[in-house]
Symmetry: C2
Subunit: 105 residues, 2 copies
């Protein structure tokens, strides 16, 4: 279940999403992710690269590898479900959460 752990780490899903259609450079990725810390981005990129999900092209840009692309494809239904969920349940339901409401961790 190691991969699931990787996926669970903060920013990972976001990074994959941002790379869904085009390769991006370090800074480009960073700002698309709403200013995540460069140290963290660096770390994540290394992890993803070690996992063979992401790689750098000749120009230095980051992009998905073949397996990485397949992972993204597998993830699409989830991203989709997330949107839908946000639209429906997001409004209604939602009572006491006990955990703080925003993006935390």
């Amino acid at each position: 279940m190691a991969l699931l752990d990787l996926l669970g780490r903060r920013w990972i899903l976001r990074i994959l999403w941002e790379l869904r259609e085009e390769g991006l450079g370090f800074r480009g990725l960073q700002e698309r992710c709403g200013r995540m810390s460069s140290s963290v981005l660096s770390q994540r990129l290394r992890d993803l690269a070690n996992a063979g999900i992401v790689e750098q092209d000749a120009g230095g840009d980051y992009g998905l590898t073949a397996p990485g692309g397949r992972l993204l494809a597998a993830l699409l239904p989830v991203y989709h479900w997330a949107e839908e969920w946000a639209r429906s349940a997001g409004g209604a339901r939602r009572k006491r959460t006990n955990s703080r409401p925003g993006v935390q961790r």
Copy 2:
């Protein structure tokens, strides 16, 4: 992207997986998850319930709601990819991670 955050939280994917085919009681779930802390399980269950993904049946067992089932379905390709990934890349590749190798966070 709130849901993605929820999914990213530790144990969540695991819990959904364990509920994939049958309802389970609190303790049952707990031990299937390799002894997660009861306090955490309680928290997670509450979060999942508030999100309308999980619910308790008359007998007190936890199970997926209809949308929860759909979420699980959307997740299947990912679980599958994870297995496959563990088999292939898990052995090869994998060099310096800088983060400790095991399940952490």
